[in-house]
Symmetry: C2
DNA sequence: CCTCGCACTGCAATCGAGTGCAGCCTGACT
DNA sequence: AGTCAGGCTGCACTCGATTGCAGTGCGAGG
């Protein structure tokens, strides 16, 4: 979209009475030392005055840097992601980078295509938020030396930096809360087994239940098809079918918990009187639900920001060892949890 | 992120035994006619076989086309935008375009900087979703011939294509619904006067109220500082202070309606028994609220898709006249509206 | 007074693809 | 046989910024 004269380095150089090469050096902090301080100052002043903005395309061609990173997420429409993306953009921008977002819909085919697309756009690195466990593609990229960091999931097998919430601690918090309330028959609606968060939380639930000597009936944990309300609803129906005596459920995430609300409505179950529910993620507006959902809160924006910072580091120093961080979580008690009707459990 | 050999046009040309220029022409459908059909086929085959992907940076440098468009939105975190963005991306992608998202936080300063940034990244067009009315910048861009389309707002003064929900019809729907229920003292919590949607909906409310002979006390319409829950809450408190007898309120959008919920909670007002509320936008999960919010539903994703299509058109044929579309809305009746306690109004 | 070194600046090539123009070759027509 | 047209192909330059290398000029030291 030219239309505007489209200022080039040459224009600045002419205006400052120097050669474009000199102007380039003067404008670039890294090479500024090579040019006379007065000249540099003059060039910079002229550049500012003219409102010169280097053309990143041209620069990218020569340096093969695009100042762009790829953001691979399942679906922007999932309320989990916007805050993360926002966190990412907020640190990318001051660093002169931009993020290219692609949605994979959790479809490996599509994901592959999208990542290819990003690569062909010369992104310098990838922030990957898809949660699929089996990931030959990522392994390959990793081996090819593509800088990347994962958010929200811990890849196994490959040594990639990741930023994840401390799932185990979160589930622990949820279970502890329910136990404190007096529950002993607690169900778990786990996320899909194809996602790392799904299996990690499931495992954490099992551990927590064992540690506290809760009812360990395998029928108490149901695995959902996907991270959606619908799946949550069918999972809860299934749970209720085999164990109508559950008094509380730990949902794999908030969406699944929302599915429970639907089942409550259709069966006249009163939450939290009849059954308590705790979610995971603390997506927006949960406090406006009926009842307000007790959940585990995740510092989404912070996760995004941290991920972006790590990616920039990795781009700057590709050699540095992968470092992974787990962010602490917090239990947010709202209205969907209460002591069980029958305190004997 | 090379790491991979990074195939160039030259490699393909060498492998096919032709000059890079010929390879370029063979690969480009538009110029393919200039080269012998057999040669073209051969080049194409070699390119595929090698897995050649043209470098968009280099191409962009020469053609000054980046295959990129800018998406200017206030805040991705606002649930209104993700579906729109998704709709946009879904049409951009098959067309070989990508979207660069920037958040302005409704700050003109920041918006200016962000748009400059987009321009320096050579975006070919802009989809602007910020709702500020006063917009010298957009006018200038328009004059400079930057293709753009606005979503969710009708710019006044400048002749830019736009995709907007039919605000007036939506408000009309809301008011009609409340009147049918028997309300006569209906308040309006308008969006900020600096936004076109704010003033349009306000005007529409006034018209609808007049047409139906409702109480036209100016105290019944309050203008919010911003499109947020907090502002909605303060506006409602203000409304209640001067007109404690209102039985229903039309909120400028869902967030403002949510702010009303907070005031209800703090004052023990029961919705919809004491006061009915209708929102605007139908953001996700409204059906899970207590009570589920009656609102006006907008085809977000469709808006995004339509906007992207129009922008692509505008890029392809800059001369074509600006065309604007208003998308129809629907009233979604849920639990936050009911007949007034005192049916005499 | 000459030479050497250093600080600075300019030249020209480069990144990868696109494109106007010139030139080649072949086939057809006179 | 000679000429011309037209179809293909290749050359070389361009886009805008970066960068290795070759100067230039100045001051200092011999």
């Amino acid at each position: 979209m030219p239309a505007v004269p489209a200022l080039t380095l040459r224009d600045v150089a002419d205006a400052a009475g120097v050669h474009p090469a000199t102007a380039s050096r003067a404008l670039n902090p890294a090479t500024r030392g090579l040019v006379n301080a007065d000249t540099a100052r003059r060039v910079i002043k002229v550049a500012e005055h003219l409102g010169y903005r280097p053309n990143p395309i041209a620069r990218g061609l020569k340096t093969s840097k695009s100042s762009t990173v790829g953001l691979v997420i399942p679906d922007l429409t999932n309320p989990l992601f916007p805050p993360i993306v926002r966190g990412i953009e907020d640190v990318l921008e001051p660093a002169g980078y931009s993020g290219l977002i692609v949605n994979t819909d959790n479809d490996p085919q599509r994901e592959h295509a999208q990542i290819e697309l990003l690569r062909s756009r010369q992104v310098e690195g990838l922030i990957v938020a898809t949660a699929l466990i089996d990931h030959p593609l990522l392994g390959r990229l990793q081996r090819e030396g593509v800088p990347m960091v994962m958010v929200n999931r811990r890849p196994d097998g490959i040594d990639v930096p990741s930023i994840t919430p401390d799932d185990a601690a979160g589930i622990e918090l949820a279970v502890a809360h329910l136990v404190d309330l007096g529950h002993t028959r607690i169900g778990h609606l786990a996320g899909p087994a194809t996602t790392s968060t799904g299996v990690e939380r499931r495992k954490a639930f099992l551990n927590a239940a064992r540690d506290r000597g809760l009812d360990a009936d395998p029928a108490l944990v149901i695995t959902c098809e996907s991270w959606t309300e619908e799946s949550g609803a069918v999972a809860l129906r299934q749970l209720l079918a085999s164990r109508p005596d559950v008094t509380a459920v730990v949902a794999g995430n908030d969406l699944i918990a929302l599915g429970c609300y639907d089942v409550f409505a259709e069966r006249g179950i009163v939450c939290p009187r009849d059954i308590s529910v705790v979610g995971f993620n603390d997506m927006p507006f949960l406090d406006k639900l009926a009842p307000p959902l007790t959940t585990i809160s995740i510092p989404h924006q912070q996760i995004g920001a941290e991920a972006a910072r790590m990616l920039l580091d990795a781009i700057a120093e590709p050699e540095r060892a992968a470092r992974s961080v787990r962010l602490p979580l917090a239990l947010v008690v709202r209205g969907s949890t209460a002591p069980p009707l029958d305190p004997t459990g």
